[in-house]
């Protein structure tokens, strides 16, 4: 049984005076225990909103969240806010992009790590602080005893992100959701943090949902990758399949448009024409069709369903990139 089973999750932003915006449109995916799953897409594709909806962190007012988020067979969307709070931090940890705005600027780091342990495991302040020291040590923060008294502004970006990871993993959650955890960091620091995440996840058997726009990060980390476009999953595949033989024209275009360090530089980059647009001229067809080179009549006229592929993935495309047939 999967640890997390997201079924047909939709989020509609409904603000008075404006047209409703469907940010997430029927997203389904599963995460097995210990598995690392990637959600990849460009800005506005709904990847962050998906993670917030899973954690119940979207404001209730003005947002309509439908579908199911089954964690251990409990539908998180049906829980009352005060009950959900018992799950968050204990069973599901979360790391956000900007560590400075996720940490409380007026509380010392030690208290912020300790409060998770106090809330969920009923530790005393003293015991929790002792444990916090060990946690900071485990995420590679130098001199953890003294850092307990430090405030977030006294730490560098990389150290802050390490502290946030320590908080997220304090109660040994079974699932960790990381929303662009390295985007605000420099490459050498990014490499440190990714290596750390990988080690921690491997050691503890925590499942990881990695949300990122960076295909390189996904390539090294995730078992299965979901590619999102305009609020929908357009392709899901095991990472080796996805990168070697992308089937959806969007995935294919994305992979080709990134300059790569390890291949000879050609004259021009492949470019996907146009940009993500809110006003798709047809109500049901494929949202990527206006930018797609492989567009056919079926893309525009009717709903393009997400269909399973023989390789264990899924694909939402009426005219996918053909597989190379071995001669």
């Amino acid at each position: 049984m999967p640890l997390l089973d997201v079924r047909d999750l939709s989020v509609v932003f409904n603000r008075r005076g404006t047209k409703p915006v469907t940010a997430v449109d029927g997203v389904s995916f599963t995460v097995e225990p210990g598995q690392t799953v990637g959600l990849v897409g460009e800005s506005g594709c709904g990847k962050s909103v998906t993670s917030l909806a899973i954690m119940g962190l979207l404001p209730r007012r003005g947002n309509k969240v439908t579908g199911e988020v089954r964690f251990d067979d409990t539908d998180l969307l049906k829980l009352r806010p005060q009950d959900l709070r018992d799950w968050r931090g204990r069973d599901i940890g979360m790391i956000f992009q900007d560590p400075l705005s996720s940490l409380n600027p007026v509380l010392p780091l030690g208290i912020q790590v300790a409060e998770v342990l106090e809330r969920h495991q009923g530790r005393t302040r003293q015991a929790a602080l002792r444990e916090a020291r060990g946690l900071l040590d485990a995420v590679g923060i130098p001199d953890p005893q003294r850092r307990l008294k430090d405030y977030p502004h006294q730490l560098s970006g990389g150290m802050r992100q390490r502290a946030l990871i320590a908080i997220a993993l304090a109660c040994k959650p079974r699932l960790l959701i990381a929303d662009e955890p390295t985007t605000a960091l420099d490459v050498t620091i990014q490499a440190q943090i990714l290596t750390l995440l990988k080690e921690l996840v491997d050691d503890s058997g925590t499942a990881l949902v990695m949300i990122t726009h960076d295909l390189g990060v996904v390539a090294g980390l995730c078992d299965t990758v979901n590619v999102l476009y305009a609020g929908k999953v357009v392709e899901r595949a095991y990472r080796h399949h996805l990168f070697a033989e992308p089937r959806h024209p969007y995935t294919d275009g994305l992979l080709q448009s990134v300059p790569r360090l390890d291949v000879d530089r050609g004259r021009r980059l492949h470019q996907i024409r146009g940009s993500v647009s809110d006003n798709i001229p047809w109500p049901e067809g494929c949202a990527f069709a206006p930018r797609c080179d492989r567009v056919i009549d079926d893309c525009i006229g009717s709903v393009v369903p997400l269909e399973p592929t023989f390789r264990g993935g899924a694909l939402r495309c009426a005219n996918p990139v053909p597989l190379e047939v071995p001669a």
Partner: protein, 363 residues
């Protein structure tokens, strides 16, 4: 011999740190750019890479005198730019323009595109044939003429960056300094802007100084690449040469840190992880600035600062005492202890350290 358009000679930009209630005492300096010499050939692209805080943006601004350099020389096409002042400097600026990272905050939201573009022309007394110039400029960056009457918020991110480029181009400059021109854009849009910069260079014979943190993008667009660390160049080489044979330990670390979108490559790669963070530019380490994080550092690195020297006939330049020994494998990497770096204070650098696993490829 290639024709040099711009050269910098030991350029320094230091920012004073002021303190005190009544008197602004200068208590120290941030050594943002600390002695950079480089030259950019006409019609070529010079890429400057480095992590945040290494001084790459300040270098670009210093070159255009948008911030006043503390010392050193800037020569643009035979003219000593630092000797210019007042009206002559203002007129000279027409020849060197800048494209900024975030097109939303660098374009005035209350000005239409036409007014944004005409502003520069007016300042330089070129409004005579303004409308023809605007049309051809918009055309060259791939925007329709109807864009003239619109405002920045009506465009997407990629289109806004095109407006930013058009604003730089409209004056017919020779040099464009582009500071992180694509880092605010999505991957699919990045490729469009990178290709546009490429096309413009070809058709207009522009010279670029491109500043970016993304090594893959820099490698794609540059002819020559300079790697900066803590205010100074640590290595400079042709784009392919740098990636084929990085000499400086920092360049090696940077290259190995960039994730590659290919699982097969990622699985087999050996990563060289740097310990710790970038030290404060207000209190740089003695000797070689990289020595606190360098797995090859020796005693000599603490006492003498390595000069950027020509390594061999290829023209590759490197600032490392031991580049030869590291390349040949004579010098073995050792363990590095992460020093805690405080983002805002230059004192209290903790002495007690944690060991990190030396996970280094043999050279």
């Amino acid at each position: 011999m290639t024709d040099t358009l711009v050269s910098l000679d030991n350029l320094k930009v230091h920012f004073p740190i002021k303190s005190g209630l009544l008197f602004d005492r200068t208590v120290g300096h941030v050594y943002a750019v600390d002695g950079v010499s480089l030259s950019i050939a006409r019609g070529q692209t010079y890429g400057l890479v480095g992590e945040s805080g290494c001084g790459k943006s300040t270098l670009g601004r210093g070159l255009l005198r948008l911030v006043e350099p503390t010392a050193g020389g800037i020569t643009f096409d035979g003219t000593d730019v630092r000797a210019l002042s007042g009206e002559r400097l203002r007129q000279f600026r027409r020849r060197m323009q800048m494209v900024f990272q975030d097109p939303m905050s660098s374009l005035d939201p209350r000005q239409s595109v036409e007014s944004l573009l005409v502003e520069g022309l007016k300042a330089h007394g070129l409004q005579a044939d303004a409308s023809a110039r605007l049309r051809s400029t918009l055309d060259s960056v791939g925007l329709p003429v109807s864009a003239l009457n619109k405002y920045p918020h009506e465009f997407s991110g990629g289109q806004r960056q095109r407006i930013g480029i058009a604003r730089a181009l409209v004056l017919g400059p020779e040099l464009i300094v582009a500071d992180e021109p694509v880092s605010a854009l999505d991957v699919s849009i990045q490729a469009q802007v990178v290709n546009l910069l490429d096309d413009l260079q070809e058709s207009l014979g522009l010279t670029y100084l491109v500043i970016a943190h993304d090594l893959a993008v820099i490698r794609h667009i540059s002819d020559t690449i300079g790697v900066m660390y803590l205010g100074a160049l640590v290595e400079e080489a042709g784009a392919d040469q740098l990636y084929d044979r990085p000499l400086h330990p920092y360049t090696r670390a940077l290259l190995s840190a960039v994730p590659i979108p290919d699982p097969q490559v990622e699985d087999q790669r050996e990563r060289m992880l740097l310990a710790g963070d970038l030290p404060s530019p207000a209190n740089p380490p003695s000797g070689c600035r990289f020595r606190t994080r360098c797995p090859w550092s020796q005693e000599r690195c603490a006492s003498s600062r390595p000069e950027l020297r020509v390594f061999d006939a290829s023209g590759q330049r490197v600032a490392c005492h031991y580049a030869e020994q590291i390349l040949s494998g004579e010098l073995r990497p050792h363990e590095v202890h992460a020093e805690l770096v405080r983002p805002d204070s230059d004192s209290d650098v903790a002495g007690e350290l944690i060991p990190t696993q030396p996970d280094l490829p043999t050279p």
